[in-house]
């Protein structure tokens, strides 16, 4: 155990990110502000907790986007729809009387296969030809998946069993819903598992190597194309979790489920820096909390303005630091 912790701390000094002192200071200040706010106001605390749950979902989908972007410089516009489709798969499993968590796990396996298939069938043929072409293919996938899901299940509202129940706990006057806590924990657990995969397994190392220097990775025997497919599979799994956590928060399942989430995920990914997984997570959590608090305390900011506000945040950050909070001008090596 001691050696494990030691390697953890040792790794932190060895790993370099685009972290700069001002950004870290800003985040620490923000965290302190949140803490003080939570302690002084119940509503503040509630909105923060709820925002963290929303933000965990944004961060998870953003992480999927960053995963693919880091490896291929492609933004996958279909990430949200893929997440939505896998959620419908879970729904179908529960309709066939499987328990929720069994359906959850099976859906993750399905999502992985789905992601790999999409990469191999649709992305691989174009990935070396033109970046625009790949982006358009993902846009086409967006439309195609939406159409197929609506065709199979229809556009009407569907309801899934609540995974965490509807209990609400109260702690010193602040109401925490079991749902928010559950969503937050599941999302964070997924992120941590992914991190462990990347840092401590041979496969994860090979994937990182493929993303950093594809030709050098090939020289040591890594099948870079396969790593890309696995990357898409993992991103689809993350998306599936995000989708299955979004459904209970929205209370219903319908085809446009993930479309707004995709937008917030874009904002979170850009906010954090498109090449930074850590940034995606932090960006998501920050955005979630920020949107909730703004909505609560700024009267002008009603729910219609959530998306424009997310956009304004995005633009603001990009104007100040064009590569996002944790991004750095990465010179792509071959």
């Amino acid at each position: 155990m001691a050696t494990f912790v030691a390697t953890l701390t040792k790794r932190k000094t060895a790993v370099s990110t685009g972290v700069s002192i001002p950004v870290v200071a800003l985040l620490v200040a923000g965290a302190v502000f949140l803490l003080i706010g939570c302690l002084s106001s119940e509503i503040f605390a509630q909105q923060t907790v709820s925002g963290l749950a929303d933000g965990a979902i944004f961060g998870l989908l953003a992480l999927a986007l960053v995963l693919i972007y880091r490896a291929t410089e492609v933004v996958n516009f279909a990430q949200g729809e893929m997440a939505m489709a896998t959620t419908y798969f879970a729904y179908q499993l529960t309709q066939w009387h499987l328990t929720y968590w069994l359906a959850f796990v099976l859906t993750l396996a399905f999502a992985f296969v789905f992601g790999v298939l999409v990469q191999v069938a649709f992305i691989r043929p174009v990935q070396h030809k033109s970046v625009i072409a790949v982006v358009i293919v993902t846009v086409g996938l967006f439309i195609l998946i939406d159409g197929v899901v609506t065709w199979i299940w229809g556009a009407d509202l569907k309801f899934m069993a609540a995974p965490f129940g509807n209990n609400v706990y109260t702690l010193s006057g602040v109401a925490f819903s079991r749902l928010d806590i559950g969503v937050f924990l599941v999302c964070i657990a997924s992120m941590v598992l992914l991190w462990l995969l990347f840092q401590y397994t041979k496969l994860g190392l090979a994937m990182r190597a493929s993303a950093l220097r594809p030709s050098s990775a090939a020289l040591v025997g890594v099948r870079v194309d396969r790593m890309l497919a696995v990357g898409w599979g993992l991103a689809a799994v993350l998306g599936a979790v995000a989708g299955m956590m979004t459904e209970p928060k929205q209370f219903v399942l319908q085809p446009p489920l993930m479309q707004p989430i995709l937008l917030y995920a874009f904002a979170a990914a850009v906010l954090g820096g498109l090449e930074s997984p850590f940034g995606a997570v932090v960006g998501g959590l920050t955005l979630g909390v920020f949107l909730n608090l703004i909505g609560q305390y700024v009267g002008f900011a009603t729910s219609e303005l959530r998306l424009p506000i997310a956009f304004a945040v995005l633009l603001f950050v990009l104007v100040l630091k064009p590569t996002g909070l944790f991004g750095r001008r990465q010179v792509r090596r071959v």
Binding site: K202, A209, S216, A217, V220, G221, V222
Partner: protein
């Protein structure tokens, strides 16, 4: 005894530009062979043709078997380790992660391999968790060698290991290369612009000019050869 590596009339091009016009050479098992030549002669391309990084025609035989138009990852699996121009180090990863990647094609525990590597590069252990990009040029070259060695290859392809290094370091690198060759039986094909040090380490050499082998033979002969002396050895 057939050579470990045989190239027969290998042609290679980058798009429309023909880089190799028919290179034939061979490397016997257990020897160090060198490929010399000026910039642009096709030395790097020759190595790339072997490891499958460039479109090529002509026949390449490795350990008696024809190498099909395989990619670099297949070459690695067959036992060819290629340390490219620029060393191919994963600068963002740690020293240990680089070594681990070197052993990617090997299954089983790496402890023994790592122990062997440490006998040649003892300083690696204390730098395990250091980012590879923060190493000096010489250290990175040695890391590249160590990484290739972790693969326990049959053939080591080295592209200009002396590039950018001070003479003392160059001598050290080649000393290690010779040791790996003598004690581990590693066959080496080294491409070098520094003909002097290459001819000292190699048993045989091939001189490339404009994508063809202009001269070949044992190192001692080439060292005496008039045009080699003038063009590549400077006297």
């Amino acid at each position: 005894m057939p050579a470990l590596l045989e190239l027969e009339q290998v042609r290679a091009r980058y798009g429309a530009v023909q880089a190799l016009h028919g290179v034939s050479l061979d490397v016997e098992e257990g020897e160090i062979a060198a490929v010399l030549g000026a910039n642009g002669a096709g030395k790097t391309t020759t190595l790339r043709a072997i490891s499958g990084n460039v479109r090529r025609e002509g026949e390449i035989r490795f350990a008696g078997r024809r190498l099909a138009r395989t990619g670099p990852d297949d070459a690695a699996r067959l036992g060819i380790a290629h340390v490219p121009e620029g060393r191919g180090t994963f600068a963002e990863l740690t020293v240990w992660e680089n070594l681990r990647l070197g052993a990617y094609t090997r299954s089983g525990r790496l402890r023994d391999d790592y122990a062997r590597v440490q006998t040649y590069f003892p300083w690696l252990e204390e730098r395990r968790n250091q980012q590879a990009g923060t190493l000096s040029g010489g250290e990175q070259q040695m890391l590249a060698l160590a990484r290739a060695f972790m693969q326990r290859p049959k053939l080591l392809l080295l592209d200009e290991p002396s590039l950018g290094l001070a003479p003392l370091l160059i001598a050290e690198i080649f000393r290690i290369i010779r040791e790996l060759n003598e004690h581990e039986g590693l066959t080496v094909l080294v491409v070098e612009q520094n003909a002097h040090i290459a001819l000292q380490a190699a048993r045989r050499a091939f001189v490339l000019e404009v994508g063809r082998v202009a001269l070949s033979g044992p190192s001692e002969e080439l060292q005496q050869h008039e045009s080699v002396r003038r063009s590549y050895l400077g006297y």
